[in-house]
Symmetry: C2
Subunit: 572 residues, 2 copies
């Protein structure tokens, strides 16, 4: 109110309108403004006096209000020994723990911090709020009594939704189960309430709107009287959007994939590495790479740690993995492309045959899938209750379908697709093949092996028979020791045995369909690594967001990125 | 040799030198070249005939040679069931395991893959090699016999150092302990040897040279007859350099720090996050930020995940951590600065006071230090045997020295330094204070708390007393709820309680010594996050390479980065 009053007070010296001085109408307006301001000042003074009087007679005046700027704990709040601090997700568990102990008069006391889902006044003497934290929510009652003032009831009923509060209350059984909260058989009777972080009354979107699935394109109209909030609006207000319960679940699962990836590889003797994102040259081919101003010269952002993880194999690191951002300057505005995403990369020596690596990668993926099923069932179910999708069908260990590329082509042809032996699969063909594999092998996860040489990068090892039938005029015809992994018919990983012989690598660099210069900047050091004697090796790179998207059946990969980046989005 | 011969054969049609046709001297040279080529061809034919004859009479011809391009396992090599595959680091352990079992005639057979440290011929009938892998090395004997040809001895003695080989041999006791290898009481008698990855005979530097410490500036002369290889040469040939045993140890420790960081924080309920590196605006201040060409517009590389981790706290993530690359476009060419390094970041809500977060961070660091002592003792000792440094003195749990900044100033003044109450410490002053703290508290690890407000970023929460004595004319005088962590007198972490109140944040943004615009691109979304109601929170960011450098006492932070980036280095 004070701010409002200040705004209408006219300037003591009205600004000169022009050289002639203020006009008649201006003078009239100034007089009117003055009158208005005087009225406002009076009103304000009256309100303040009233407020002071109310405060002095407010029996609850030390039990509610806004915390100071640093959120300092109120001095007369119960200590940890007096009242335990139990956050909402642990409340029911805590009450079960103390149930056997002596009963507290009036119900157990608790102190917790939570956000306000909503607050409403029932009457001057009664307010209801819903508190939530970590996916749990509970109803709260603020009732005027000999010990709790109407002023406090009024204050609590007007706390804006999404504010963060500190609460001291008694836990009781509600008269009837509360339907709108996750904790339905308990409610909190508020004794003290302080606002720690006040939300503005008008937020650009509601968390409740973010709790529903993103609309399918063309179906953005309101449903059940609630506005449909588009993906774009949600991403523009991502902090509010992320508060939705299923969004928390998505990012708990995403972190779970990283943790499982690292756990499995560390248990197999892999070492984590950090390779540079800033490169002196666009090593993996000039297209789709972001350019950086680097002091007097320029640098490029890594599209993957490919060359570096191989150089570390040459440096005798044996088995390495890396989790880190990778960048693709691809102007693709689809539901599956991001310009920045998280790569889960690994590379390793092997003993006899690159299929050792394929087997290990299959085990790794099964470890992740089974880990998600066991450790993140609640989160998975929660997300799938929003984005309905079939359960992810897993093969048993040791029976992951592993099809040669040629077999995949055969299956597609039998299903009526027309394509050549060495053609790359289109996205619809990949999905089709995924469906055929699911039908035949009962698995949403499978491996396509021995891809055509021509459609893989220059460092890919050709198969032995391709090398044996080498034809100088058609050096790229044939197959290679390379593989893709698929979930629900979409690629999540690409990998291969790499060439570890420098001379052969240089030959392949020159004769590849898109030749690269072995002496080019950034590649010189790469080739030199193999001149220094390197073991045979293979590996792969997994797109983290893709796994999350396909595990959960999300309709857009952006939903699996906290702050997604695409050609049109760099904020927030 | 074939390649050599090819190179001197003249072209059938000598290239026209100019319009006049070849000159006399050119014709003479061509004739001479032809003669040379004929001689070379004859020589080559003779050599090949000799080689063929030698091969046909070579009893070992299937037991040695170069593996095919893909490194395929030789067909007549013993199977896993016949001869176990035991890599060198596990060899002694394996022999102890089988010691109780029946003895194999001639000694236990083993098959392993390793690199060749060196190979030399003692006579036509005897060669010695040293194999190494994973920090272990062993001497090998290749002796001609009824079953092993002189040709094979010759081949083995000429395998270039650093080549990668596949070996089948018998393990025996040497006549006397081998001094130059880590396995001294055993040697391998080679039965079969194949080169998997051949190194060039002339490498740009030797691993042996990389095994010694980098030279101190101005002391780059040869010692003990061996060349001193500068840091720059080592980094230019980083793949070879990284093969040095202590370099492997450094990066095992570095990965250990990451693993310990994640283990501790996950156990405390933290969730891993991935925030963007590509930003739409240089949010944390325009200086020292790299600019990226982003389609039709431009982007900037993140200097830290600071604003994003706070936004996630506002999104109710409660406790988050991130491990990822961060970028500083600072033109500093010192031993402590990199333009790209790995940030270990965390941020969390707290209950009452930001010191809860400081305590958790102290625990985290002690968990890392103790973890390094327990799990990485061998690696730590190995590196410290190269770079001699005092043992890192740790405080006991709960007794980490935590000094207010003002106390630090007092100690420095008492030691004769001249500086003002609110001056930032220079690097020498920081080191001096580290020494004073070590002397007084016996700890190489300590915390400096309550830094002057003016030298911290705009989002730092002032102390309660600074806020209480707010002076509009001097808004930045006083202290703040912020802290730095130090190892051996050098900063490894910076952190603070952040402002969680949007209005106060906007005020501080404007009145900071280097004001920022709250409505500026990139900051709008940040401020909006707090308008939506945020809890109080604090956190910190640790430089991973700094911890590794200071734990091990390395003289340069570049030694703690696999492929370091500085203003002058973008390769390899």
């Amino acid at each position: 109110m004070a701010e409002q009053a200040e705004r209408v007070v006219p300037l003591t010296d009205p600004p000169a309108e022009d050289e002639k001085g203020p006009s008649k109408s201006a003078l009239k307006k100034a007089a009117k403004d003055k009158e208005k301001a005087e009225k406002a000042a009076k009103r304000q003074a009256a309100e303040e006096a009233q407020k002071k009087e109310a405060e002095s007679s407010d029996i609850s005046k030390n039990d509610y209000g806004e915390l100071p700027t640093d959120g300092a704990w109120p001095s007369d709040f119960p200590s940890k020994d007096e009242v335990p601090r139990v956050q909402l997700p642990r409340l029911e568990e805590y009450l079960a723990e103390i149930a056997s102990k002596a009963e507290t008069p009036g119900g157990p006391h608790v102190v917790f911090r939570a956000s306000v889902e909503n607050a409403r006044s029932q009457s001057a003497k009664l307010a209801f709020l819903v508190f939530s934290r970590g996916g749990a929510s509970i109803q709260a009652v603020v009732a005027a009594s000999d010990e709790l003032s109407r002023q406090m009831v009024k204050f609590c009923s007007s706390v804006p939704a999404e504010s963060y509060v500190l609460v001291h209350g008694l836990v009781k059984e509600p008269k009837e189960p509360v339907k709108s909260t996750t904790i339905q058989m308990l409610e909190v009777h508020v004794k003290k309430l302080f606002v720690e972080g006040k939300a503005e009354a008008q937020l650009p979107m509601q968390v409740a709107d973010a709790e529903r699935p993103i609309p399918v394109e063309g179906e953005e109209e309101a449903v059940d009287g609630r506005p449909i909030v588009t993906l774009s609006t949600r991403l523009n207000n991502r902090v509010i959007d992320l508060r939705a319960k299923h969004n928390h679940a998505i990012f708990t699962i995403k972190d779970g994939v990283v943790a499982l990836f690292e756990e499995f590889l560390r248990s197999q003797g892999f070492r984590g590495i950090q390779t540079p994102r800033l490169l002196g040259a666009a090593s993996e081919g000039g297209a789709n790479v972001f350019e950086v101003k680097y002091f007097a010269t320029k640098a490029f952002l890594a599209q993957s740690p490919q060359l570096y993880k191989q150089m570390l194999i040459a440096a005798r690191f044996e088995k390495v993995f890396e989790v880190g951002p990778v960048f693709r300057a691809e102007n693709s505005n689809t539901a599956r492309h991001l310009t920045e995403f998280t790569g889960l990369d690994m590379e390793m020596e092997f003993e006899e045959n690159y299929h050792e690596v394929v087997s290990l990668l299959e085990e790794l993926m099964l470890f992740i899938f089974n880990g998600l099923k066991e450790r993140y069932k609640r989160e998975t179910d929660l997300v799938r209750s929003i984005y309905h999708v079939e359960d992810f069908k897993l093969p048993s260990a040791g029976s992951v379908p592993r099809l040669p590329f040629s077999e995949g082509i055969k299956m597609l042809r039998e299903a009526g697709e027309e394509l050549g032996d060495f053609d790359d699969l289109s996205t619809p063909q990949e999905k089709r093949l995924g469906a055929l594999v699911l039908e035949k092998y009962g698995s949403d996860f499978y491996v396509l092996d021995e891809f055509p040489l021509a459609i893989r990068p220059f460092y890919t090892m050709p198969t032995a028979s391709t090398r044996a039938s080498y034809n100088h005029d058609k050096p790229n015809v044939g197959y290679s020791n390379s593989y893709d992994f698929f979930m629900r018919g979409q690629e999540i990983m690409s990998g291969a045995q790499r060439i570890h012989n420098a001379a052969y690598l240089e030959k392949r660099m020159k004769e590849h369909d898109t030749p690269v210069d072995p002496n080019g900047e950034g590649l010189r050091d790469y080739v030199a690594a193999f001149r220094a004697g390197a073991p045979k090796h293979a590996g792969g790179g997994i797109g983290l967001e893709r796994i999350v998207m396909l595990w959960l059946g999300l309709p857009n990969v952006r939903l699996a990125s906290l702050f997604p980046r695409d050609p049109g989005r760099l904020a927030p």
